[in-house]
Amino acid sequence: MNAFPPPSDRDDDLEQLAEVFRRHAPAEPSPAQWQRVQLAVSRALLRPAAPTPGFRPLLGMMAALLLLAVGGITWWTFVRTSPPPQALLPPEQLPSEPFAVAQAADITIHAVDIADADRIVLGRFLLGKLEFARAGEIEVVETRPDPAEGWTPTMAPQSAMPLIVASAQEP
């Protein structure tokens, strides 16, 4: 420890050297640079003003009341709209067709999305055997540009045979 200066005094030699460094301190940043740093520090440390402590219990109570009200309304709506519980029937007493079936005459199609075209059979009922056509057996009569779907083919418009159009495979 004798090799080092005592802690109570600043060593003259060291102090002289330190003074040289202090005399040649780096130039001060510009006011604009200080402003930028100070702004960044303020933004990081100061959040928007929080409510004063006096209002906090009141806000808590209001939030609790609001939650209670929303919960009550939800429960009341659920109770009113839920059907009364039904006893399960034994299998032998279940109806043969549990769901109502619509006839063709009951349905009027107003519009069909092109994406659903492959799910709907248009034309007569499929009573016979389903046959698959090959690509070469289909004649494309014409194609027309469609603003929404691009080029849409029209195939055999006068054919009496029902036609199922399968959607192209997704790439």
Binding site: M1, A3, F4, P5, P7, R10, D11, D13, L14, L17, A18, V20, F21, R22, H24, A25, P26, A27, E28, P29, Q33, W34, V37, Q38, A40, V41, S42, A44, L45, L46, R47, A49, A50
Partner: protein
């Protein structure tokens, strides 16, 4: 905590400013920043060697120091606590970005190089900027921990004990680091300027 303005009762102490800051007082934060920004910048600049990185370290240091005030338990002054955080931020930044190389003296114009090596009065012969550069080079000869210790002592004017608090080292370790730092700096400066 520090009572940096004890002599003038009209000026808020660090304790008062920090208390106001913790309640969201923007003006208190601005005063703390204004009060210590220069010391923080000098320390960061000496450790990083350029202004842009030093300002980044100052910004990060202030944010860290003031957002972790619970870690500052008043055992040292706020200035010491802040400079500890700023200098550590600067060392971290230096490690990640690298302390930018100071311009070598050999790269200076020939006439100035001669003036540096064989001056009649080096302190007067050297321009301020070149001497600052020479000091930056001299600091480069120190290890990061020696540099941090010396800079906190010389530029931030902390006492031995405050440097010990800021670096988390014992008093003896600080004295040892300063001793070897002084030896290295002096040897380099003598070699370069033939003092």
């Amino acid at each position: 905590m520090s009572q940096s303005s004890q002599s003038d009762p009209t000026i808020a102490t660090d304790d008062q400013l920090l208390a106001r800051f913790t309640q969201g007082d923007r003006l208190a934060l601005e005063e703390i920043f204004r009060r210590y920004r220069q010391a923080a910048f000098r320390v960061a600049y000496r450790l990083l060697g350029n202004e842009a990185d030093a300002l980044d370290a100052v910004q990060e240091g202030f944010i860290k120091a003031l957002s972790h005030l619970q870690g500052f338990q008043g055992r040292s002054s706020f200035k010491t606590w802040l400079l500890r955080v700023v200098s550590n931020a600067a060392l971290d930044l230096g490690r990640s970005r690298g302390r930018r190389e100071a311009v070598r003296l050999d790269a200076l114009p020939g006439a100035l190089h001669q003036q540096l090596l064989c001056p009649e009065d080096p302190h007067q012969a050297l321009h301020r900027e070149e001497l600052s550069q020479l000091l930056t080079e001299a600091l480069d000869t120190l290890s990061p921990i020696q540099r941090q210790t010396f800079v906190l002592y010389a530029d931030a004017q902390l006492s031995y004990r405050e440097v010990a608090e800021a670096t988390g080292a014992s008093l003896g370790t600080v004295m040892s680091r300063l001793y070897y730092a002084r030896q290295k700096l002096r040897a380099y400066l003598i070699q370069r300027t033939a003092l």
